[in-house]
Symmetry: C2
Subunit: 326 residues, 2 copies
Amino acid sequence: MTVTIYDVAREAKVSMATVSRVLNGTAVVKDDTKQRVLDAIARLGYRPNAVARGLASKKTRTIGVIVPDVSAAFVAEVVRGIEDIAAMYDYHIMLTNSDAQVSREVNLVGTMWEHQVDGLIYMTNRLRKEHVQAFEQAQIPVVLCATEDPERRIPSVNIDNRQAGRDAASYLLSRGCRRIAYVTLIPGTSVLADRRGIGVESCIPDEQLLRIELRDGRYETALPLIKDLLRDNRVDGIVAASDELGLASIHAVQDLGLSVPADVKVIAFDNTRLATMVRPELTVIAQPMYDFGAVSMRLLTKLLNEEPVDDYTVTLSHNVVERGST
Amino acid sequence: MTVTIYDVAREAKVSMATVSRVLNGTAVVKDDTKQRVLDAIARLGYRPNAVARGLASKKTRTIGVIVPDVSAAFVAEVVRGIEDIAAMYDYHIMLTNSDAQVSREVNLVGTMWEHQVDGLIYMTNRLRKEHVQAFEQAQIPVVLCATEDPERRIPSVNIDNRQAGRDAASYLLSRGCRRIAYVTLIPGTSVLADRRGIGVESCIPDEQLLRIELRDGRYETALPLIKDLLRDNRVDGIVAASDELGLASIHAVQDLGLSVPADVKVIAFDNTRLATMVRPELTVIAQPMYDFGAVSMRLLTKLLNEEPVDDYTVTLSHNVVERGST
DNA sequence: CTGTTAGCGCTTTCAT
DNA sequence: ATGAAAGCGCTAACAG
């Protein structure tokens, strides 16, 4: 029925060890025996059983990917980056959504360990000690992807969010804005947004800054709330924590009978595809989403191969992309 | 170091067989021995090795998911549906992107088989005999998700795309449109789009229909092309094969100095989040994206458990969601 | 350069 | 209701 390495060995008149050797290149095999094995493999249509291989070698060549929600544009793009590089290095990814629930996130580390993943790429809004504990217990190499670890205990790939916040704020300032709103999630929800907030605040005097803190970052729920707050608090500039919030901000402004960018300028974070599909197009602090994934995965391969690593905390660069909304 | 089932057995003073039994519930175990085992498991922090389990039982509880590109909104939403239901049934998913390349798609079936996935969920633009062959060879249960199999050989979950095309066309007709463009991908690229095209054509007389066939469905590339064609061919209604193309159509119309929906009405397929985040909001033929994934996965679990299945070709319902663009 | 032999950690008969 | 033992298909010493 299923053809095993043993069948190949018999067919090629060698031992299974030799077959294993040509399969893995773990030792030199004489050219013509190698050819015999290759022929046998082709003839039988043999494909090695990765599970057996995993059990024997204790390496599964699969890496676990834990994200809050693949259906979010930002996350999906990151996952694409991860998978591309994984494929390049002959790894497979096991994907799970955590919905940012700590208990689920911690559990997932456990199941990933049960599945003997070689490594883990982890994305969460707020890293807690429970997470770090789970990583340590599982003894799996982990790379944090687009998530802040204030104590830098875990290898990670990120941008400098504080600086990004500063860049957004000073961009608006340089465009003449004097009364600026920072549209974000309520503090504690996303460490990234919080960090950026710190950056924003460091550039804008308190009396010129209006914080609009949302419980929920979705366009639909954000739009009316932003509109209400903007009605009572006139601003001439908005920094939004995501493209979606940026868009909600633009529409809120427009609904109030004002114009973007003439009356109010809007800059947002992320630069998902959404940013260029709306009018006016969104000026953004562009995040290297694909690279978050790609670089994380690459870093993980280095960890797994024990290749030298210059920096366990890699900081990717972000940049302002100027478009119609400012 | 790593604690195995054997350690648990010793700790609980039973055989590994018994531990296995309480773990899997494959046989009745006396209450107090069961408790002893449970205690031992807790004390040692034992977690079963899924790889070993997979080798012994020939069931990995992981299912392969092959999609063109997770970073596409439509696909990401489907994947979310798959993963949710998979988690519910205690399956894990191994995700890969094929970029719709047939050779890669076929290869992936092979690697999935190497990894001994219990089943496969497959999404592709055009199912070819190479695919079907690969499925048969691999002997893995497969569910096609949001992809057409004209011959219905493979279990699948889809909507009635032909009818959806008709619905879109007749919707515009009923709104008084008399000169309609169908903005789609060049035939052969996506069987789904082609099928819908058939539906559209069946409702609209040739002389009233303008086909705009694009090599590439991305907003950026589509917009200028649509604009050019619309300049020379005035229409009063547009059916677009995706939200993104719908949005490109709206902007093309607006760029020509016309108004949506006053001068031109636009209806699109999909209903991704994009549809409600733009102005005017997109009227759409809504696709049950999440359910494509969820139902596919559920169907697959039935196949795997050999549960009775009423219909191997499940057709989900679509519906018109009327918004500002018409 | 190649073969022999133990396992890897579990499930699953087959006994008892 | 429980235990003993034989694999699952492969890798990895260890010999030679």
